[in-house]
Symmetry: C2
Subunit: 266 residues, 2 copies
DNA sequence: CGTTGCGTTGAATAAGGTCAAATAGAGTGG
DNA sequence: CCACTCTATTTGACCTTATTCAACGCAACG
């Protein structure tokens, strides 16, 4: 972990971070890619530009010219850091967490490509969460003041921004439902289905994926201890619903997993 | 409970809902009060207008011309209802809750005067929460499309709107911390302190107040059963930290109550 | 080839939940 | 005004679930 106050002033990264090692690219290519990043980004629909038309997306691209790599284990920002930008996950995987006055840690979410990070800093102009990469990752830096200003001029962007924040609120309510009223097994099932759904939205398999987080991080997110998470994985394995091998998950029956969520409480 | 699709088209209420029964007011007075509602509202600082200057607040007033009364037990809106407006609580007390597919209920929050309700509908243009009044209440209706449009023209309002949504997100993270990592007694203590703080912000006593919700509603919010809430109130009473008499609460020692929240887990 | 971090599993324990019964008030109808 | 009903709350006894504590396996890595 390290304090960091870089971002906007930092040098523009020319690599797109998804490029295969070994391939090369001319400067013009790279520049072109940067100028039009959002319009050609394969995560565009999932990301801030959402359903914006070409022209509006190009507008967004104009302020999103910086990218930042974050290595596995490093932090994107820490609670208390001044807020200047939102971040769109371009590649990789993050966790966000809150540390209470008493030092308790609660993971508040896991973010994958296309998702927006940083909204927690808007109110106080200081981040209230910490965010760390769970694997080598890259984010697009979205300077907030420019986004706000642009949102005044571009109605579709404005709506998109509001939608995005509202979606986060709705999602948090879902987590509250999970934490407040589900039993351990239901929580884990709901968690896996949520991950699955998000992988599908990104073009990956629905029932085979790698967890990027530890049992402890899952437990923190779900309000459970790591041993409980492990036991429940084992139990689901016994039920034949799941294949678990360390971080590699294979859902054997999505319907049965779904059924595990909806068991009415006694 | 009832389905309702009123709001914007409904007749403008001329009463301010805070007026003492028996006092009377000329039509001009009432009209003046309506036109300038936000600028003279005593909840202004806590509400959407926040720190807007006179002029901007007057702008907001221009679109907030409708009020709506909600009697105790009635719902402001229900999950699934089309989203058209945000609501600012003018007087009274509300609870918001989510009903899961399996029929489980989770109270997601309690709203008091000056607080904004309805953001849960922005993303899908349909509400995902249900909101009900816990006592006879009144809200100011804020037509969302007009607010959005106005936010483009009034920078301070735009910032205020974004802040408000971000604050909700930060607050939800706090609830996730509570639900995910605190034990029962800590949750109840944190809940009472949160209520206390909000009452203070409204000019009421910090340590003496009436609960507007039942033990069951508190329990749902805190992820506990009503019996557990009751037991913990009793226990806090034994400790001499709290006086509880049904819905009437008197905190005997705020510091000791605070200490109950921060006990590091073993 | 030991160390270290992560994951699994078992046994004992504690925290809350469930069930049941009693009480207290608020509101209702006579 | 009083008896009655209904709901909210409290409290006790018991039970379930998840946590705690501890041991061990495994793979990655210096």
């Amino acid at each position: 972990m390290q304090a960091d106050t870089r971002d906007a002033p930092g040098p523009v990264m020319k690599s797109d971070g998804l490029q295969q090692a070994g391939t090369s690219r001319t400067d013009e290519d790279a520049a072109a890619l940067l100028r039009s990043s959002c319009t050609v980004c394969n995560r565009r629909e999932l990301c801030l530009p959402g359903s914006l038309d070409e022209e509006d997306a190009a507008q967004v691209s104009r302020i999103v010219y910086t990218r930042r790599r974050v290595r596995a284990g490093e932090s994107l920002y820490q609670a208390g850091a001044p807020f200047r930008s939102l971040y769109a996950v371009r590649a990789g995987f993050f966790k966000s967490y809150i540390v209470s006055a008493g030092g308790r840690i609660q993971v508040t979410g896991f973010q994958m490509s296309g998702e927006i990070i940083g909204v927690d800093g808007i109110d106080q102009e200081r981040h209230t969460l910490s965010v760390a990469a769970l694997e080598d990752s890259e984010v697009c830096v979205i300077p907030y003041s420019r986004l706000e200003e642009m949102s005044a001029r571009v109605p579709a962007l404005r709506r998109q921004l509001h939608r995005m924040m509202a979606r986060e609120i709705v999602g948090d309510h879902g987590v509250m439902l999970l934490l407040g009223s589900m039993r351990a097994e239901e929580r884990v099932a709901a968690f896996l289905l949520n991950l699955s759904r998000r992988f599908v939205a990104r073009g990956y398999a629905a029932s085979q994926f790698q967890l990027r987080m530890t049992r402890e991080e899952i437990g923190s997110y779900l309000g459970l201890k790591l041993e409980t998470v492990s036991r429940i994985f084992s139990h689901m394995h016994e039920l034949g619903v799941l294949e678990v091998q360390k971080k590699s998950i294979s859902i054997k029956s999505v319907p049965r997993l779904r059924a595990l969520v909806h068991q009415a409480e006694p």
